[in-house]
């Protein structure tokens, strides 16, 4: 008994026993931990002219649904004087948005002076990789260095030139080319297409519901983009909720793509128009355009919009009045609201109503 105990002490002290730890990436933005029960499957291998080595993409799933994509990437990074091979593990969500990264065992990230990344550098890298709209998107590699401003004291990139001023805020100090290379991998269009293609091929009712219930804006938009006509009926509450609460891009997509069969239903028109005041300015314009094109229009839907006319800008208000002009019947409340707006001294576009005789 004593011997066994001693043996265990020895074994544990020597670190021979290694427990399988769950994967904990250095940075990972999805709201769950990668557990041991997760399974992995290879989605495919990508090899392009500008890739150093084929990129194998894995899909990680749990029992419920697919969760995210990942890939161990081996790529080259060069500055004017030297090149090296960089190893990194990237993570994307189900719609191909970057969600995190990790270093690969024995290959920490280094700067061009061969100094390893500090904790701050790693955090900064994640921060800059999260920025899909980074200026790096529009820059060619040769534009990263301002060759006119070569300063011996400039240590920002550790290369022969000075980092172009506009780039400085978008890269890890001393790792200009690594930052650039990694950003372009995280947002590589071909990788993203492969990932979204795979997710598309997996779409079933369960996955659509998972995407719609997620808090990720991209997931909801992706679900809507892949809706079949009947899905607008099945998931009516979801798209109506997104219309009220989501980003303008998603709202615009829904309004633009509502199938004719669904949109011509009075109850749908009314539900959409009822939320008019909660829409952003562009969504309102899109909705007014849609209303104008609609032949069978619910009077009640138009009435909902009339409830807060002062929220409209000049063009929208005129547009709305034009739409009303073409209608044979309007509700009493709609007319009352317009008359009220005409008398409202604080409403700066009230004068437009004078052009519409039918109101008076």
């Amino acid at each position: 008994m004593k011997r066994r105990r001693l043996l265990w002490i020895l074994v544990i002290t020597m670190g021979i026993v290694q427990k399988d730890e769950p994967e904990i990436p250095m940075y990972f933005d999805l709201p769950f931990q990668v557990g041991e029960s997760f399974s992995r499957s290879i989605v495919g291998e990508l090899m392009e002219d500008d890739f150093f080595a084929p990129i194998t993409i894995e899909l990680v799933s749990d029992k419920e649904s697919p969760k995210f994509y990942t890939s161990d990437i081996k790529t080259t990074v060069c500055d004017d004087e030297i090149c090296e091979i960089m190893y990194i593990k990237l993570y994307w969500d189900l719609v191909g948005e970057y969600v995190g990264y990790d270093t690969v065992s024995h290959h920490p990230l280094t700067k061009f002076d061969h100094e390893p990344f500090t904790k701050t550098d790693y955090a900064r890298l994640h921060e800059l990789l999260q920025n899909e709209g980074s200026i790096l998107k529009f820059k060619k590699k040769e534009e990263l260095i301002d060759k006119e401003k070569v300063k011996a004291s400039d240590v920002v990139d550790g290369t022969t030139g000075a980092t172009a001023l506009e780039i400085k805020e978008e890269v890890v100090e001393g790792a200009l080319y690594s930052s650039y290379t990694l950003w372009h991998l995280a947002y590589n269009g071909k990788i993203k297409n492969r990932l979204t293609g795979k997710t598309q091929s997996l779409l079933d009712k369960k996955l659509i519901k998972y995407l719609l219930n997620s808090n990720r804006t991209g997931y909801k938009l992706f679900a809507f983009q892949n809706f079949q006509e009947d899905d607008y009926i099945t998931y009516k509450e979801y798209w109506l909720s997104s219309l009220e609460n989501d980003i303008p891009l998603t709202r615009k997509y829904i309004i633009k793509n509502l199938p004719e069969r669904i949109w011509t239903t009075a109850s749908v028109q009314e539900a959409v128009c009822k939320m008019f005041t909660s829409y952003d300015v562009n969504t309102r314009t899109y909705l007014l355009n849609k209303l104008e094109e609609t032949v069978q229009l619910s009077s009640k839907a138009l009435e909902y919009i009339s409830n807060d006319l002062t929220q409209m800008n000049r063009n929208q208000f005129r547009h709305y009045l034009d739409i009303l002009s073409k209608r044979d019947t309007l509700t009493e409340l709609t007319l009352a609201n317009i008359r009220k707006a005409a008398d409202d001294k604080s409403f700066k576009y009230a004068y437009l109503i004078e052009d519409y005789e039918w109101i008076n």
Partner: protein, 187 residues
């Protein structure tokens, strides 16, 4: 029978000491091995684009400049003219050899690509391919992770100089190489 707390302390101290001791022994052994590995050029068998091989035996008693490069490495390509110029200055000297070793190459670039690539850039030197043998390439054995990477090996096969990167100055590279080669020729 229970183990007394004093005995437990002794065991713990003993184990810690053992760990520290082993750590140092292991580290010094690794360091020594690494030092030896770094000094001597490992056994190699590199084939050129036509499949003709070169081995250690063929460079014995010579000063050898080995240039490790890849087609994706722009500084490597930029340094070629200076290397060729230095090589030409030793054309009459049988004791000096230049080996251009293609290594860490992109997965989709084969020998045909490399041949065309060099021709398109106007280079016609002999290139040797660092094809991994049993999964290990010469660059792996030499811990080469950055390019361009040059080794200067003396007549006894010992690596005497490692040069990484290319500053962009041909003159600097030619002078540096020439000084080092001459130094080894004089040995």
């Amino acid at each position: 029978m229970k183990i007394h707390s004093t005995s437990r302390l002794y065991i713990a101290v003993y184990l810690c000491l053992m760990l520290v001791f082993n750590f140092f022994i292991l580290n010094s052994a690794v360091a020594q091995e690494q030092e030896e590995k770094e000094l001597k050029l490992p056994l190699f068998n590199l084939k050129n684009l036509d499949g003709i091989a070169i081995q250690n035996s063929e460079i014995m008693e010579k000063v050898v400049v080995i240039d490790f490069w890849a087609t994706w490495c722009a500084p490597c390509i930029k340094s070629f003219p200076a290397l060729i110029e230095t090589e030409n200055s030793y054309k009459e000297n049988d004791e000096v050899i230049f080996l251009y070793v293609n290594t860490l190459e992109s997965a989709n670039r084969d020998t045909a690509y490399i041949r065309n690539f060099l021709l398109s850039k106007g280079f016609d030197f002999q290139v040797y391919m660092d094809t991994p043998q049993a999964g290990i390439s010469l660059a792996d054995q030499l811990d080469i992770t950055t390019l361009p990477h040059k080794l200067i090996v003396d007549k006894s096969g010992v690596i005497r100089h490692r040069m990484t990167g290319y500053s962009g100055s041909d003159e600097e590279l030619i002078n540096d190489l020439t000084t080092k080669i001459n130094e080894l020729l004089a040995d």
